[in-house]
Amino acid sequence: MSTLEDISALLQKGKANDVKANVEKAIAEGLSARTILEEGLMAGMNIIGGKFKRNEVYVPEVLIAARAMNAGLVPLKPLLVSSGVKATGIVVLGTVKGDLHDIGKNLVKMMMEGKGLEVHDIGVDATSDKFVAAAKEFNADVVACSALLTTTMNEMKSVVEALRNAGIRDKVTIMVGGAPVTDTFCKSIGADLYSPDAASAAEAAVAACQKSA
């Protein structure tokens, strides 16, 4: 197997240290940062994402694979920055006010980064003002909101309204997700896209960015 195939396979098994070592090996072999990212790390994450979507793998494996991907990104990041690899699109992502659930949002972040999107994570318990400020600051293509509680999902509506009041509603695609969220709910609050899982969210975000580009 080539080093890139090794990286992909090890990432899928969640072997963080081995992924990092092989990324370093690939750099030493003279492969470009972009190639290592796309054909090594992202390739592995995409396979995990696809399996996750088909219920072949579950949250723990994705988290474990994501940890391995982060380990692999450590030696790669400085090279990516210096070689000026451009992101597919820019996403502002957060869990809405009143809700501290982090893991689902982190899964989405990982899947999005695995698709080459630049993700700005504004954390949990994020107010609608925080979403607006980040969307402006990073000139976001997509604003993605997560809520895991029936009692906090209505906060997503406030985010939609805040973006409208700030005059940037039509510049961004608003995505919503989380266990209690449905497509009907998404439409009822005037958001643009609902995704049932992290992998679909990443695909939908890429599609939205390509449309707006």
Binding site: K97, D99, I103, V124, T151
Partner: protein, 621 residues
């Protein structure tokens, strides 16, 4: 239009009216029936509210078609939450199976000194020379009997109006019996006065009831306050369960349903009233002998009991309306008990570390002991507390209901037919079932054992993956035969017809990681090491029934602590019993609260990293 819904059970029929268009679940709730549990709060997700129904009903919905097999649908099985009444219909009430609910608490070892009790007071006789009122003579007699409570000036006992009325007749004798309440820091009150029991009457006892309101189960203990003897115990599933299995669902019901708070309050109040009357009847007690009821429970349960809206507890920063000790009388809480029975709502710490944990800390004496102890109460929320007399740190961690058998494909409660223990015999798996019945599924302890055994046998690797057929075959034919392809995912057979699926393992991984990471963060934040933890108290039903070695094998409890485990049973209930029995223990609840602090884990990046690390099962010892 109103229709008739008929419930049929072993030859008896009950008819309840129901509006056309309502779901079977809502109709049952309205009629006060507890036929089914709605684990997902009637959202059509969990499939636990299944029952057999026939008559004029809506067509099976898409959700029902996915959660019920074609054979089940053909046999009349429906989901109560998804099935709507269109005309006359009937439900076949299933035979009730009794769940194994833990009602044992740790033995309590202290001198009874109850905060509320009947006292016999000897009154000085009234004379013409010294004209003082009956009230003053009684208060003076009380001060002589309880010097510590009446020591400071201005601390003379307050006498209620009801007590004065009783005093009028009783004080013509030289002694009276007074129901006295002495709460540290709140002075002394006389709540009732009665004539001394006559010779042919048994003397008036002082009885208390300690209550633990759990989200899932409710337990009441009747206590003889003179000697601490437990005279009886009643337990049952919480009658609020039709509104959902977890606290978020119950809170949601108070928000979504106009009368959701009142309906839930009435259910728990009447459940406690019924339990109390049954306990008193069995102990052949006179109702006025019941002097106190101390109630522990999680913060949401106490809000629902008191009729205080708990809505804010469900969103960050989760502020509860109250966490302090509240003292009142039975009628103030709507309890149909003697008007002079005191109610103590025990203090909690935060929205998610409630009076159940604080009273457990108090009952176990953790905040007064120089030895470091860890208290684990593993339920849908894992509540953890660690510390010693220098201070207690606590946290709560979302373990999910996997260890209660929910969300596991073959999971079930601790009822007859549930596999409760699984062990390795040579290179095979052996198991036992509750009631020695044919195995139908796995209860919490069985799920934990099965997971530990499969990890130990190597059929599940450290990352939680079930080995593929080739890898399993390499382990030997006997082990390979435990593995089978399911419809979509691999399964491991515990016995014929009962298995653990790959999805189940993943659920359990999330649950163990949440608890394991929570324990690690408490130990780290308190500046201690695992070796310094001298005692591990396991509270709650799952903690009491589980095999500690299995818990260590899957990473739920840190290795090295298995020999320090003390099964604490229902420590919350024990704390409530102690609060009825002893002023010092009631005060200890307040002290435990004052010495404890709460760590919010969900906003901690450190916790998220530890959580991912704990997803891996520990290597073999």
């Amino acid at each position: 239009m109103s229709e008739i819904l008929t419930l049929v059970h072993e030859g008896t029929r009950t008819e309840i009216p129901a509006e056309a268009g309502t779901s079977l679940l809502d109709a049952l709730i309205a009629a006060g029936e507890n036929l089914v549990s709605a684990t997902c709060a009637g959202k059509g997700r969990c499939g636990k509210c299944r029952l057999r129904a026939s008559g004029a009903l809506s067509e099976p919905s898409e959700r029902e078609r996915s959660l019920l097999s074609a054979a089940e649908l053909a046999g009349g099985w429906r989901l109560a939450c998804m099935t709507h009444i269109e005309g006359p219909a009937r439900i076949d009430r299933p035979a009730t199976t009794v769940a194994t609910i833990l009602a044992e608490g740790p033995a309590i070892d202290f001198t009874p000194d109850p905060p509320a009790r009947w006292l016999r007071l000897r009154l000085s006789p009234p004379t013409l020379e010294e004209q003082v009122s009956d009230e003053e003579r009684m208060v003076a007699a009380l001060a002589l009997l309880t010097p510590d409570a009446s020591a400071s000036p201005g601390s003379a006992a307050r006498v209620s109006m009801a007590a004065l009325a009783g005093l009028a007749g009783a004080a013509r004798h030289d002694s009276v019996e007074a129901l006295v309440r002495m709460i540290p820091g709140r002075g002394t009150e006389v709540l009732a006065v009665a004539a001394v029991s006559t010779a042919d009457q048994a003397s008036r006892r002082s009885l208390g009831i300690g209550v633990d309101i759990g989200t899932t189960t409710v337990v009441s203990y009747l206590i003889d306050l003179s000697n601490g003897a437990i005279l009886g115990t009643k337990s049952g599933l919480n009658d609020q369960r039709v509104f959902g299995a977890d606290v978020i669902a119950r809170i949601q019901a108070t928000i979504e349903r106009e009368t959701g708070l009142e309906e839930q309050r009435l259910r728990i109040v009447s459940q406690l009233t019924i339990m109390a009357h049954a306990l008193l009847a069995e102990a052949q007690a006179r109702s006025e002998e019941l002097v106190s009821m101390a109630i522990a429970g999680n913060t949401t349960m106490l809000h629902l009991f008191a009729g205080v809206p708990p809505a804010a507890i469900s969103t960050a920063p989760f502020p509860p309306v109250f966490t302090g000790l509240h003292v009142g009388l039975a009628p103030e809480f709507g309890l149909d008990l003697p008007e002079t029975s005191s109610v103590f709502l025990l203090p909690g710490l935060s929205g998610y570390v409630g009076a159940d944990i604080v009273s457990g800390i108090a009952a176990l004496g953790m905040a007064e002991d120089p030895r470091c102890s860890l208290l684990l109460d593993i339920g849908t929320n894992g509540e953890l507390a660690l510390g010693d007399s220098g201070g207690i740190l606590s946290c709560t961690t979302a373990a999910g209901p996997a260890f209660e058998g929910a969300g596991i494909s073959m999971g079930m409660g601790g009822v007859v037919g549930a596999i409760d223990f699984v062990w390795i015999e040579g290179s095979r798996i052996a198991c036992s079932t509750i009631g020695d019945a044919k195995a139908q599924g796995l209860c919490g302890s069985g799920v934990l054992d099965a997971l530990a055994c499969f990890i130990e046998l190597g059929l599940i690797d450290g990352s939680g993956r079930i080995l593929d057929a080739e890898e399993a075959a390499a382990l030997g034919t006997e082990l390979a035969s435990l593995r089978q392809e399911g419809e979509t995912e691999p399964r491991l057979l515990v016995c014929e017809g009962v298995w653990l699926s790959q999805g189940d393992v993943r659920q359990l991984q999330l649950a163990t990681a949440a608890i394991g990471a929570g324990i690690e963060i408490l130990i780290k934040r308190s500046g201690k090491s695992v070796g310094e933890v001298e005692r591990v108290f396991l509270a709650g039903g799952f903690g009491s029934f589980m095999d500690v070695r299995s818990a260590v094998r899957v990473g739920l409890i840190p290795r090295g602590l298995e020999d320090r485990v003390v099964v604490a049973g229902n420590s919350s209930g024990a704390g409530a019993v102690a609060a009825c029995l002893s002023r010092a223990r009631l005060e200890a609840c307040d002290q435990a609260r004052a010495r404890s602090s709460y760590i919010e884990l969900s906003s901690s990046p450190e916790f998220n990293d530890l959580f991912v690390e704990h997803l891996f099962f520990p290597e073999q010892a």
